[in-house]
C-alpha cells in the first residue's frame, strides 16, 4: 500500500513538474566529420516544416523534416567543392520541385536542383566567375544572395565581388550577364523620406531583401530593394537581431571606432540613425569588456537633430546588436548587457577566481509608441553567469532574445546561466509594465559553443539550436 502511494506520488510529481515547466523537448543531434562552415534552416520542399542544409567540408548535407521529424542520416549529401564559402537557397527554376541550392565558392556559383529524389548539380545557371574570397570577410558580406529582385517570381542573384555588388537576373533557364548595382551601399543612396514597405521577415510583392554589411558606411543592416523599373532605392529595416549564433560570422563588425546604423527605430516608416562609438580602452574604465555607446537620432520631418535623442550603452559581445523588437509592435527596443565586475569589488574578484562567475546586468528599454524610450530601464535583471573556466569568460554571449518560447508573439529571454543548462524566462508586456512570468531550464552538453532560438517545427513556439564546430543539436519544443 505504501509503495503504491509512493508510485502515485511520483506520478503526481511528474505531472506537476510537466505542468509547471510546460515545455517538453525533442532532441535532434547531427554530427559532421568536418567543420561546419555554413548552414541554413528553411523549408526546402514546401511542406511547411523547416529543413536543415549544412555545408561541412566538401559536402552539402540536407536533412528534410516530415511529419514524423528528421531522419538521423542526411537525405542528401552533395559534393560541393574543396573550399566552400557560402550557401543559399532560392526558387531559381520553378519547374523543379522545392527550392534549389546555390553555393558561392572562390571560382563562382554552383547550382543544385532537386529531381524529385535527390539534389543534383546542374551546369545551367552555373556562374564561372572568380569571386574574391577575401572581400567576403573584410568588406560587405552578403548572405542572402538569391532572391527575386525584379518581381517576376524567379530568384535572381546579388553577389559581391571586385568590391561591388553585381546582379544576375534569372531569365528562366539561365542568368543574364552580371550588371553592376551602382553604389548599392553608399550612404547617399539612402533617402530619408524613403518609405519602408514592411518591417518584417517578408517584404511586399515588389520588393526584396538582401542582408549586407559594410563596415565603412552602413555597417550591418537588412536592406530592402524596392524595385521600380530596375531603379533601386535602398532603404533599411531590421528583422531580427544578429548575434554570434548565426552560422555566418560577421568578423568585421564593431571593428571601426565610429559607425552608423540606419534602422526604423520608432516604426514610423522613416529611417532613423544610430551612431556608434566603440570604446576599446575599456581597461581605463576598469571594465572587462569592450563596450559601445549608441547615440540615437530620430528622423523628424526628414531631419536629424544635432544632438542625439537617446543615448544607450552596452557591452560588446561578438557581434550582438542590441536593437530587438521585443513585444512585436514594430518598433525597436534596446537591450543593454553590462558586466558589473569591477576591480574594486571584492565579491567580483572572489566569484571570478573561485567560481568563474561573472555578474551582468541586463537592461531592456522598451520603445513605447508616442513616448519613446524611458530613462530608466523597463527591465533590469542581475544575472550571474557561470563559465566553464576563467579563460572562457567573455568568450560567448550568454543571452539570446530572438526566441518566442510560448508562442505569445513576444520575445523571451534565453540565458546560458552556466555551462550545463539554459534558463528560459518567458516575458509578457503590456502598456504599463513588463513581467517575467515563468522560468524553466534545459540541460545542454557542456561542449556546446553557441546557442540560438529558431523555429523549426512550425508550431509557433521557438526551438533551440546548439552548435559546435562540427555538430548541431536542435531542441524542438513539443
Amino acid at each position: 500500500m505504501q509503495f503504491k502511494n509512493l508510485v502515485y506520488l511520483v506520478f503526481m510529481l511528474m505531472f506537476f513538474m510537466r505542468s509547471v515547466f510546460g515545455v517538453d523537448w525533442k532532441v535532434l543531434e547531427l554530427s559532421f566529420p568536418e567543420e561546419i562552415t555554413d548552414g541554413i534552416i528553411t523549408d526546402l520542399d514546401g511542406n511547411g516544416l523547416s529543413d536543415i542544409i549544412i555545408l561541412s567540408g566538401i559536402y552539402i548535407y540536407t536533412y528534410k523534416q516530415s511529419e514524423v521529424g528528421f531522419k538521423k542520416a542526411p537525405d542528401d549529401r552533395i559534393f560541393y567543392k574543396q573550399i566552400g564559402e557560402l550557401i543559399d537557397v532560392g526558387d531559381i527554376n520553378p519547374s523543379f520541385p522545392g527550392l534549389e541550392i546555390l553555393g558561392i565558392s572562390e571560382k563562382g556559383v554552383k547550382y543544385f536542383y532537386f529531381d524529385g529524389k535527390h539534389y543534383k548539380e546542374s551546369p545551367a545557371y552555373f556562374i564561372n566567375q572568380k569571386i574574391e574570397r577575401t572581400l567576403f570577410r573584410v568588406a560587405p558580406i552578403l548572405y542572402d544572395f538569391a532572391f527575386d529582385m525584379n518581381g517576376d517570381g524567379l530568384d535572381d542573384l546579388l553577389i559581391f565581388h571586385d568590391n561591388d555588388f553585381y546582379q544576375y537576373i534569372n531569365k528562366g533557364n539561365c542568368f543574364t550577364e552580371k550588371s553592376k548595382l551602382e553604389n548599392a551601399y553608399k550612404i547617399e543612396d539612402i533617402s530619408l523620406n524613403s518609405r519602408i514597405l514592411q518591417n518584417g521577415n517578408h517584404c511586399s510583392d515588389n520588393s526584396n531583401m538582401a542582408f549586407f554589411f559594410n563596415p565603412e558606411v552602413l555597417t550591418s543592416k537588412l536592406v530592402v530593394f524596392q524595385n521600380t523599373h530596375f531603379n533601386y532605392d535602398i532603404i533599411s529595416t531590421l528583422n531580427r537581431p544578429m548575434n554570434q549564433t548565426d552560422f555566418h560570422s560577421l568578423t568585421s563588425f564593431f571593428d571601426e571606432k565610429y559607425q552608423n546604423m540606419f534602422f526604423d527605430i520608432n516604426a514610423d516608416n522613416r529611417i532613423d540613425k544610430i551612431s556608434i562609438e566603440i570604446i576599446d580602452d575599456f581597461y581605463s574604465d576598469f571594465r572587462f569588456f569592450r563596450y559601445a555607446k549608441y547615440f540615437l537620432f530620430l528622423n523628424i520631418n526628414n531631419k536629424f537633430n544635432d544632438n542625439p535623442d537617446y543615448f544607450f550603452k552596452s557591452t560588446i559581445f561578438n557581434n550582438h546588436i542590441p536593437f530587438i523588437d521585443l513585444e512585436n509592435d514594430g518598433d525597436l527596443d534596446f537591450i543593454s548587457i553590462w558586466s558589473d565586475a569591477s576591480l574594486g569589488s571584492k565579491e567580483s574578484i572572489i566569484q571570478l577566481m573561485t567560481n568563474s562567475v561573472l555578474k551582468y546586468t541586463l537592461r531592456c528599454y522598451m520603445n513605447i509608441k508616442g513616448l519613446g524610450y524611458s530613462e530608466t530601464p523597463d527591465i533590469s535583471m542581475g544575472l550571474k553567469i557561470k563559465y566553464a573556466s576563467l579563460s572562457d569568460i567573455g568568450s560567448y554571449i550568454p543571452f539570446d532574445f530572438s526566441g518566442d518560447f510560448n508562442g505569445d508573439g513576444n520575445k523571451d529571454l534565453c540565458v546560458r546561466i552556466n555551462p550545463e543548462y539554459l534558463l528560459i524566462y518567458l516575458m509578457t508586456f503590456n502598456e504599463k509594465k513588463v513581467n517575467i512570468s515563468r522560468v524553466f531550464r534545459i540541460s545542454v552538453p557542456e561542449y556546446v559553443d553557441k546557442f540560438t532560438s529558431i523555429e523549426i517545427n512550425n508550431d509557433s513556439k521557438s526551438d533551440i539550436l546548439l552548435t559546435t564546430d562540427n555538430k548541431i543539436i536542435v531542441y524542438q519544443s513539443r
Partner: protein
C-alpha cells in the same frame, strides 16, 4: 530607559575615544585610501578626463571599505562584549542599576558609531584625493546631459546611506559572535572567518540574495551604475537594501540579546 542607554552610550563613546584600536583603524583606512590614490596614478591614465574623479572615488572607497573597513568593523564589534567578558569588567558593569538590554543596546550604538566613523573616514579621504588628483563634472554624452554633478553627488549620497544598513548588520553580527564566546581571539576569528566562508560559498549554494553582506556590494553597484551613466531604478533596490539587512539586524539583535540575557558571567 532611553536616558540610561544614552548615558551608557556616552560612556562607551569615551572608551572608544581612549582605545588604541580606534586610532589604529582610522590610521589604517586613511593609509589604505592614500595608497590607493598613489596606485591610481599608475592605473588611471586619463586623470583630467571629466568623470575620472567619480571613478577613482568609487573604486578607492569600494576597495578600502570592502577589503579592510568591513574587517575592522567586525573586529571592533566582536571585541565589544568578549573583551569585557575576558577582562571580567562585565561583572562590575552589570552590578550597576542597568538592565542587560540597555547595556546590549549601548554596545550596538557604539558599534554603529564606529562603523559610521570608519566609512565616513574612507569616503572623505577618497573624495579629497579624487578632488585633488582627478576631475569631477557633469556626465555629458554628445550633448545629452545624463547626470549633472549635483545629481551624481545626491545619488551617491543615497547609495552610501544605503550602504550603512548592511554595515550595521555586520556590526550586529560581530556583536552576536561576541556574546557567544568569552575568548577575544575566537570571537574575531569566527566573525571574520564566517563572513569570508559565506562570501565564497554564497554563489555555489545560491544564497547570495539572502545574506546581508551581499548588500554592501549592492550599494556600490548602484553607485557604479550611476557613474557608468545608467539611470537607476531606486524603488526595488532600496527595498532590497533595506529589507534583507533589516530583517537580519532584527534577527541577530534578538538572538544576541537572548543569549546575552541568559549568560551567566560569574
Amino acid at each position: 530607559m532611553i536616558k540610561r542607554i544614552l548615558r551608557l552610550s556616552q560612556n562607551e563613546f569615551y572608551k572608544l575615544a581612549r582605545q588604541k584600536i580606534t586610532y589604529f583603524s582610522i590610521f589604517f583606512v586613511v593609509l589604505m585610501s592614500v595608497l590607493s590614490g598613489i596606485g591610481a596614478n599608475y592605473l588611471f591614465l586619463e586623470r583630467s578626463e571629466i568623470g575620472s574623479g567619480y571613478l577613482f572615488f568609487l573604486i578607492s572607497s569600494r576597495t578600502v571599505i570592502n577589503m579592510f573597513g568591513v574587517i575592522l568593523i567586525l573586529i571592533f564589534s566582536a571585541l565589544l562584549i568578549s573583551s569585557e567578558v575576558s577582562s571580567k569588567t562585565i561583572q562590575s558593569v552589570l552590578v550597576n542599576p542597568i538592565s542587560r538590554f540597555e547595556f546590549y543596546v549601548s554596545k550596538i550604538i557604539i558599534g554603529m558609531v564606529f562603523s559610521v566613523l570608519i566609512v565616513a573616514t574612507i569616503l572623505l579621504v577618497s573624495f579629497i584625493i579624487a578632488k585633488i588628483n582627478f576631475t569631477f563634472g557633469d556626465y555629458v554624452e554628445n550633448g545629452i546631459t545624463i547626470y549633472t554633478q549635483n545629481e551624481i553627488f545626491m545619488n551617491l549620497s543615497l547609495c552610501f546611506l544605503l550602504l550603512l544598513l548592511p554595515i550595521f548588520a555586520i556590526c550586529i553580527f560581530g556583536l552576536l559572535i561576541s556574546t557567544l564566546t568569552k575568548n577575544i581571539g575566537l570571537a574575531i576569528g569566527v566573525s571574520i572567518g564566517s563572513i569570508i566562508i559565506f562570501d565564497i560559498l554564497k554563489e555555489r549554494i545560491d544564497i547570495s540574495h539572502f545574506l546581508f553582506q551581499s548588500y554592501i556590494e549592492n550599494s556600490f553597484e548602484l553607485a557604479q551604475n550611476l557613474i557608468d551613466g545608467f539611470k537607476i531604478n531606486w524603488i526595488p533596490n532600496v527595498i532590497n537594501c533595506i529589507a534583507v539587512p533589516g530583517i537580519w539586524m532584527i534577527l541577530m539583535f534578538v538572538t544576541g540579546y537572548f543569549i546575552f540575557s541568559r549568560t551567566n558571567f560569574k
